[in-house]
């Protein structure tokens, strides 16, 4: 049996308690909610905190409410199942319900949280492996080794962003709220993610993600298309989130975000700008897809071959954009 590396656990009931504990333990402690990302990592010994701080007992973090200004405020410990089922989300932000329903399996959705999914560890064929396996390749740059096996001559780690909700919240221009020892902070979702497989979050380790706020989707449409081998369990090998505010049949504003092709979500401002003032015809969609696909360079860190994943980028961009019609 694979077991967790030995650790202790605590269950704070307020945000301040949780943050204080994290500060006291420093690097030796991790926040945890559903555990569906951290615990497999602990069993494979890529993360081995001596202490875990389970934050699901903090009532504020479980709240889901529509704010008076029409925005949706989601506590970081709201589960994926709640995102799938809550009428407020289904009706007001259906793309979020849809994307959450594509994550893993119903069993995991019952445990996993939006906070956990947005902070999902980057993944790679060479990193998400057991301890013995990693020993056989002399470990890797992200954990205990020196070389990134996906790009051996590269000075950086190329582990890939593998969350389904990240491209969606970036496309929706969500605000992410944190609470740390120095107080509260709000970041644009887009600014939270950094293009590095190891340092992929613009966030201090002691900051606790408390709330995700989504602007109202009134007057706008959004979509998410996921590519993976099977209909459940599998992480995306490609994910495309699209959002557009329409003025009649014309796009007045757009955002296009590609997930799982790099260490950070790939935002295509160029393709979005191209769409402004245009109708979503087959031709404009095709052109926008080509523009957005160009910088997408998937590497050999997921299922499937790189060439095929690259070929799929414009296909799924077209599908995501067509779904906005």
């Amino acid at each position: 049996m694979l077991r967790l590396s030995p650790c202790t656990a605590s269950f704070p009931e307020t945000i301040d308690e949780a943050v204080a504990e994290k500060v006291a333990h420093g690097q030796a402690a991790s926040y945890v909610a559903g555990g569906t990302d951290l615990y497999p990592n602990m069993k494979r010994r890529v993360q081995t905190p001596a202490h875990v701080i389970d934050i699901r007992g903090i009532p504020q973090l479980r709240r889901l409410e529509t704010l008076p200004d029409g925005r949706l405020a989601i506590g970081s410990c709201v589960t994926l199942t709640e995102l799938i089922r809550q009428p407020a989300v289904q009706e007001g932000w259906p793309v979020l319900s849809h994307a959450a329903a594509l994550i893993s399996t119903p069993l995991l959705q019952n445990m996993g949280t939006i906070g956990g999914n947005l902070l999902l560890d980057t993944r790679c064929n060479y990193y998400d492996q057991g301890y013995e396996w990693r020993k056989a390749i002399d470990f890797c740059m992200k954990k205990d080794g020196a070389i990134c096996w996906v790009a051996p001559s590269s000075p950086r780690c190329w582990a890939v962003q593998s969350s389904d909700l990240v491209p969606v919240v970036v496309a929706l221009d969500a605000s992410i709220r944190f609470q740390g020892p120095d107080g509260a902070r709000t970041a644009r979702a887009r600014d939270l993610y950094l293009n590095d497989g190891i340092d992929f979050l613009a966030k201090r380790p002691d900051e606790l993600l408390t709330t995700v706020e989504l602007p109202s989707l009134a007057g706008a449409r959004a979509s998410y298309e996921k590519l993976r081998r099977r209909g459940s369990f599998d992480f995306p090998v490609l994910g495309v989130a699209a959002w557009a505010r329409m003025n009649g049949a014309t796009v007045s504003e757009a955002r296009i975000v590609i997930g799982a092709v790099g260490s950070a979500p790939l935002v295509s401002d160029e393709a979005a700008a191209f769409l402004v003032g245009q109708e979503l015809s087959d031709d404009t969609i095709d052109q926008a897809a080509r523009i957005a696909a160009r910088p997408a360079k998937p590497l050999d860190n997921t299922d499937f071959t790189i060439g095929w994943r690259k070929d799929m980028v414009p296909v799924y961009l077209r599908r995501a954009l067509a779904a906005l019609r």
């Binding site: 656990a9 555990g35 119903p106 069993l107 445990m111």
Partner: protein, 179 residues
């Protein structure tokens, strides 16, 4: 170098678990998962494990009626919750209608995925007494089976659902004999 396993961090803590309606007050290691506590500390070996990483669904149990992966559930976090395992599905000597249907149709071949499948199916029927075939497939999309090809499992869930709705239902001839 990857940290060696540090046994000095092992702590035994007291805790209380409510499983199949019975309370158990025990002392257990703080880093044990619910799967391990059920099997090793409470002797309830009906809950199985195929990977311990949440990649197969064999370890599914119900927590307050909701199917979860017990291999990824830190035991200490699940105290005082209503946990249901396969051992609690039967009512005394009488099998749950799902168990009856699985027995009748041969929906359990090797039986190793069966406890997780039964509990997940039970949660489905509690919420949706009239699931379509597609809804059954989606609900069980997180439970891998290598023996049955799932078909007898769907048929057994449908048979049990009809009986639980009070209908007199028998397996279809084609299920048992082919066409």
């Amino acid at each position: 170098m990857t940290q060696p396993i540090s046994l000095s961090r092992t702590r035994k803590i007291p805790g209380s678990f409510v499983v199949n309606g019975e309370r158990h007050d025990i002392t257990f290691s703080s880093h044990k998962t619910l799967l391990e506590v059920l099997r090793e500390d409470l002797g309830l070996t009906g809950t199985k494990h195929g990977c311990e990483l949440g990649e197969c669904g064999a370890c599914a149990v119900l927590v307050d009626g909701m199917p979860v992966l017990s291999c990824l559930a830190l035991a200490a976090a699940y105290q005082d919750r209503g946990i249901a395992t396969v051992e609690g599905m039967a009512d005394g000597p009488s099998l749950h209608p799902l168990q009856e249907a699985f027995v009748e149709l041969g929906a359990a071949q090797c039986g190793y995925c069966t406890p997780g499948v039964l509990l997940t199916a039970r949660a489905l029927l509690n919420e949706n007494p009239r699931p379509t075939r597609h809804e059954i497939k989606k609900a069980l999309a997180g439970n891998l089976c290598r023996c049955t090809g799932y078909i007898k499992i769907y048929e057994a869930v449908e048979l049990a659902a009809r009986r639980m709705r009070g209908e007199e239902a028998e397996p279809l001839e084609e299920s048992l004999h082919g066409y």
